[in-house]
């Protein structure tokens, strides 16, 4: 189980996720969603409490450095290492075997020897997601991970993330602007403007009532 009660300068997120569950963050631009995700990773300062599988990442006394938090982070700008091939990028925090397996799973094995500057936006995004999962993290954080993907690729990647999440048991928190992506993937939704976390089914009912 993962418990988060974290406070950044602009937002306050409190939620509990079970293994393999996903939380989608929905809200307008510039409201602090990226900062919140970065704070969970400890790339930004934050107060509060994070407990992942009984391991304290953050509380009044402890703040584990980013390297010691078992996370996979998909950055908005992908942050692929330009000096490494696709295979080397994914194998950076795992092994070549694991990287090859993920390249096959994400249908991008044909890109393995290419360098990031030769990839399209959508290809980079897929590589970035594969790299974040390659580390076998406990928590996958994704900042607008589907923005550069076409509809069919997006659904394929979302299904793959869901499948890997079930297999590996990692928790996922992601930001998306497309409500469809959030509904399709997440178990809970953090409605930033209302500052509340609700069940996705509940959100569906509320949407119908509106």
């Amino acid at each position: 189980m993962m418990y988060i009660n974290i406070k950044t300068r602009l937002l306050n997120l409190k939620c509990t996720l079970n293994k393999s569950q996903m939380l989608g963050i929905l809200g307008p631009s510039g409201i602090g969603k990226t900062t919140l995700l970065r704070a969970i990773a400890n790339l930004e300062k934050a107060d509060g409490e994070i407990i992942v599988d009984n391991e304290v990442w953050l509380n009044d006394k402890i703040s584990l450095p980013v390297q010691n938090r078992s996370i996979g982070f998909v950055f908005q700008d992908f942050a692929l290492f330009p000096n490494m091939s696709v295979l080397e990028n994914i194998a950076y925090a795992s092994s070549k075997e694991k990287a090859t397996h993920l390249l096959e799973a994400f249908n991008i094995i044909h890109l393995k020897d290419k360098y990031p500057n030769k990839l399209s936006g959508g290809e980079r995004q897929r590589v970035a997601i594969a790299r974040a999962i390659a580390r076998e993290p406990k928590l996958l954080l994704m900042d607008e991970p589907f923005s550069a993907l076409d509809r069919s690729t997006k659904h394929f990647i979302q299904d793959k993330i869901k499948q890997l999440s079930q297999e590996q048991g990692f928790y996922t928190i992601f930001i998306a602007h497309d409500i469809g992506d959030i509904k399709r993937l997440s178990d809970f939704i953090f409605l930033v403007e209302d500052n509340k976390v609700i069940n996705t089914d509940e959100f569906e009912k509320e949407s119908i009532n509106i």
Binding site: A41, L43, V66, Q67, N68, S70, I71, G72, F73, F75, D77, A79, L80, F81, P82, N83, Y92, A93, R131, A132, R135
Partner: protein
């Protein structure tokens, strides 16, 4: 024409370049990524040889490392002397050329997107691992530029080496000091040949830097 001053200059430039390659990366990393009052104080001190007259710098090095200087006195206890010999030249060159190493490397480090460094951290890698595998490879053109600048700057150095090393033939007489001596002796032929060699090295370095710049822009 005596070839020994050129050998000394080449030896001095090569060793200075190698030392500043390593030291420059360490100092640049600290200056490029740390935010503290120490950095704000340290950066102008390191960059000061860019604006200080070489004789002034040479004088202070003499004052510190000379036999009556604070460090010089201490080294005397171990029978070590750091002025008027090759080691003095080396220390003078390292201090004098430090900004030529640090300045391009800092610029290269700061040009790397922050997210690349953070991505490495989120993948569980240490700061040192990130420096070796992400920062240095992605700033390689800046580092090579720094090395070329240090080499070409050191090989033509005059003021500091004269102050710290003197003009001892076979020991501390470098190529640029030799040119000065040739002119004093009205030996314009050797002065001309020596000057042409240094001029050629400088031009080759500049052309090389230009090629590097083009490669980096690709």
């Amino acid at each position: 024409m005596d070839s020994e001053p050129f050998l000394i200059s080449f030896e001095l430039s090569t060793i200075t370049m190698l030392i500043l390659g390593i030291v420059g990366i360490g100092i640049s990393y600290f200056l490029a990524f740390k935010r503290s009052i120490i950095v704000d104080i340290l950066e102008p001190i390191i960059m000061s040889p860019l604006v200080l007259p070489p004789t002034v710098l040479g004088f202070y090095i003499l004052e510190i490392f000379g036999v009556s200087g604070s460090v010089g006195k201490f080294l005397n206890h171990f029978d070590l002397k750091l002025v008027f010999n090759f080691w003095g030249l080396l220390i003078g060159s390292i201090i004098y050329s430090l900004p030529f190493s640090v300045s391009p490397i800092i610029a290269g480090f700061r040009a790397i997107p922050k997210s690349l460094i953070e991505a490495s951290y989120t993948l569980g890698k240490s700061k040192f691992h990130t420096l070796l595998k992400v920062i240095i490879p992605n700033a390689k053109y800046s580092i090579i530029s720094a090395l070329v600048l240090v080499f070409s700057h050191t090989i033509g150095e005059f003021g500091v080496v004269l102050m710290v090393g003197g003009d001892i033939p076979g020991k501390t007489r470098t190529a640029s000091i030799a040119i000065f001596d040739y002119v004093q002796e009205l030996n314009y032929k050797d002065a001309n040949i020596s000057a042409l060699i240094l001029f050629s090295i400088a031009m080759i370095s500049l052309i090389f830097l230009q090629i590097l710049k083009r490669l980096q822009e690709r």
